[in-house]
């Protein structure tokens, strides 16, 4: 489209995609910095290098859609609309954390926006996302459910069980594999029988595509088609999103399995933010002057989140006894 309104829409979309990517990057950098200062409790799995995947989907998702996530879940939570300050406070183990300090990084969840949780169990998200999708269809809604998972998680049997049911029952589940080439320090070639995972999933009878997961626009375009089909009553689809993680598996990983040069090369060649900046400038949609303020705003937002989190209250030890079971209701009893 070359109309003025089309240009405006494209510009707004580009701004949204870039804003989300830079916010995710800034959150992860602030969290890693605070982790280094000892303020984050426990390990931290940063998604730096993979931001374009959740950012590409973010503009397509409504609060009533569902997302399930992984141990590397901060980007998914932000893309679904979770509050970064509540997230940061959660990483710090504070009482005003989004999960009241009961979950931490690996269990970040915000049910108010349909973010059904990061998960400490690799491959647990498939069933949960599909069950949420079943609820959607039973209620006659046109919402969708997105399950993010790593290439390592493709080795889990739960994928087969759930993919089979989703196709049989035509459930609106978008499977998004964040194919970063590693499961902890094991390369994909030692973990999966094939690199062509989209082919594998096509075998279930679901539309499946490999996409450059460092390209937010490509992610957005591919997911837009799949999600539109699902909202119109279609069944599941699969995206093999290729990207790289620039940091270790987590904040405790010294990365003995790859060299500094490998990582520098990835940062130089496959940084989704840098690639986006170059592409959108070349296309004449956004200029550096449009994006620099977004970087600055994201950095300020996440610094403020960290400062606020640091000032937040610690939970009372007695809080450990809350939220184990539902509060008792009054019933007629026999």
């Amino acid at each position: 489209m070359t109309t003025a309104s089309g240009d405006n829409a494209a510009r707004a979309l580009h701004l949204d995609l870039y804003r989300m990517m830079t916010r995710i990057r800034a959150f992860e950098e602030a969290a890693l910095y605070e982790s280094g200062r000892g303020n984050v409790y426990g390990p931290l799995h940063a998604c730096i290098g993979q931001e374009a995947i959740p950012a590409g989907l973010a503009p397509l998702l409504r609060p009533t859609d569902y997302v399930t996530s992984t141990h590397r879940g901060h980007g998914h939570a932000l893309a679904k609309g979770a509050d970064p300050q509540g997230m940061m406070a959660e990483l710090f183990g504070r009482a005003d954390g989004i999960c009241r300090g009961k979950g931490g990084s690996q269990h970040i969840a915000d049910f108010s926006v349909g973010m059904l949780g990061a998960n400490g169990i690799v491959g647990a998200g498939y069933g949960i996302a599909a069950g949420a999708a079943l609820r959607i269809r039973q209620a006659g809604r046109d919402d969708v459910s997105v399950v993010f998972f790593g290439d390592g998680a493709m080795a889990r049997g739960t994928l087969h069980e759930v993919a089979n049911i989703c196709v049989l029952w035509k459930l609106p589940v978008l499977f998004v594999c964040e194919h970063n080439g590693f499961a902890q320090w094991v390369p994909s070639s030692e973990n999966l029988c094939t690199d062509a995972v989209a082919g594998l999933m096509a075998g279930y009878g679901m539309p499946s595509r490999q996409v450059d997961g460092t390209d937010a626009l490509a992610m957005h375009g591919c997911a837009a088609g799949f999600i539109a089909d699902m909202r119109a009553g279609g069944g599941p689809a699969f995206i093999d999103a290729r990207a790289n993680r620039f940091h270790g598996h987590n904040s405790m990983d010294a990365q003995a399995y790859r060299s500094r040069d490998d990582v520098s090369r990835l940062r130089a060649e496959a940084d989704p933010l840098a690639l986006f900046r170059a592409a959108t400038a070349a296309a004449g949609v956004l200029a550096a002057a449009d994006m620099d303020p977004l970087d600055a705003a994201a950095e300020a937002e996440m610094r403020a989140a960290a400062e606020a989190a640091l000032a937040g209250p610690w939970p009372d030890p007695a809080d450990a006894w809350e939220d184990i079971l539902a509060p008792r209701k009054a019933h007629a009893h026999g």
Binding site: G117, G131, T158, A332
Partner: protein, 327 residues
């Protein structure tokens, strides 16, 4: 006016499902082979006709469909997953233990998981070691789960209805040997049974016998037989393995001063062990004799009809334990 009828345990489960599905249109049932006949043990009879589209027959994928049960429960409303035999719950342990039981806690109270995983458990006939296990103690060990082991049709109906009106994940274990058993059950759709409340199935003065599942009925028979010898046994159905009604048991032991605990699961780390330990800890000075536990010996369930009885507590074992605490 509510009426009491004699119905089977199977009918009681069916009635609970039917009444609650009428009341709450969100309730879904997922399970294998549940259509058209109502499942391997027939508890869903007639439900598909009354509630079309709400019973979903799944592929053989316990991890898949119980995981979906977690998601559907999180996304709003009660879900029942029937696992055909409790033994098969071993292939969906992550979904029950790491997911369903943990979500409320890990999310700081944001999430509710009203997921009921129903499964027939316990001894069968000629089905060997993989279709006969008792897992109440295994699940009772997990914070965040409630575990029902109703011993009577009334307990089954009342507890299942409570589970479906609650907001917690429940493992609901039905002893296969009880399905055909009859008992008095109210037709009042508002009558629920409280989780964590046991019931005194027979009052008595001399010995407290806490007996769950099939052991409840063996225990009641033993109590009737020993009554002829002048021994007055109080028989309690704990009804739930989590939470356990320790108060009811301790109060009973305070009166009788003697305790035998019988359950069908393997003795080591069993519900019987937990009850015995609690009474030893909190009711020691009430006791006039050491507590006795009667439970399955530590062996897989064998196949041959000549071997099966050796793997299961018999009435004679319960009677012997009672005589021992009275000696």
């Amino acid at each position: 006016m509510a009426e009491m009828r004699e119905i089977t345990f199977r009918e009681a489960v069916n009635e609970a499902l039917r009444e609650e599905m009428r009341r709450d249109p969100r309730i879904l049932i997922l399970g294998e082979d549940i259509l058209p006949g109502g499942g391997v043990f027939g508890v869903h009879g007639g439900l598909d006709e009354e509630f079309p589209g709400r019973l979903l027959q799944t592929p053989i994928a316990e991890a898949g469909f119980v995981g979906m049960g977690v998601g559907a429960a999180l996304a709003g409303g009660p879900v029942i997953c029937e696992v055909m035999f409790a033994d098969f719950m071993t292939v969906c342990m992550d979904e029950i233990i790491n997911q369903a039981a943990k979500f409320r806690y890990m999310s700081g109270g944001q999430a509710s998981v009203p997921l009921i995983v129903r499964a027939p458990c316990g001894m069968g006939r000629g089905v060997g070691a993989q279709h006969t296990q008792s897992f109440e103690a295994l699940f009772a060990h997990i914070p965040g789960l409630k575990v029902a082991i109703p011993g009577t049709p009334a307990a089954a109906k009342g507890l299942l209805k409570s589970a479906l009106r609650g907001d917690d994940p429940v493992v609901f274990l039905e002893y296969k040997g009880l399905y055909a058993m009859r008992g008095p059950v109210s037709d009042d759709p508002e009558l629920l049974a409280e989780f964590g409340r046991g019931s005194v199935e027979r009052p008595g003065r001399d010995v407290t016998l806490v007996a769950s599942g099939t052991m409840l009925h063996k225990g009641l028979e033993v109590a009737a037989e020993l009554a002829a010898d002048g021994v007055d046994i109080e028989v309690i159905d704990p009804r739930c393995a989590a939470p356990i009604d320790h108060e009811l048991i301790l109060a009973s032991v305070e009166r009788t001063t003697r305790l035998v605990v019988a359950d069908e699961s393997v003795l080591e780390c069993s519900l019987a062990s937990e009850i015995a330990a609690t009474v030893a800890e909190r009711g020691f000075y009430s006791l006039d004799a050491p507590v006795r536990r009667v439970a399955s010996p530590r062996m897989p369930k064998p196949f041959s009809p000549k071997l099966e009885p050796a793997s299961l507590p018999q009435k004679a074992d319960i009677a012997a334990a009672i005589r021992e605490v009275l000696a």
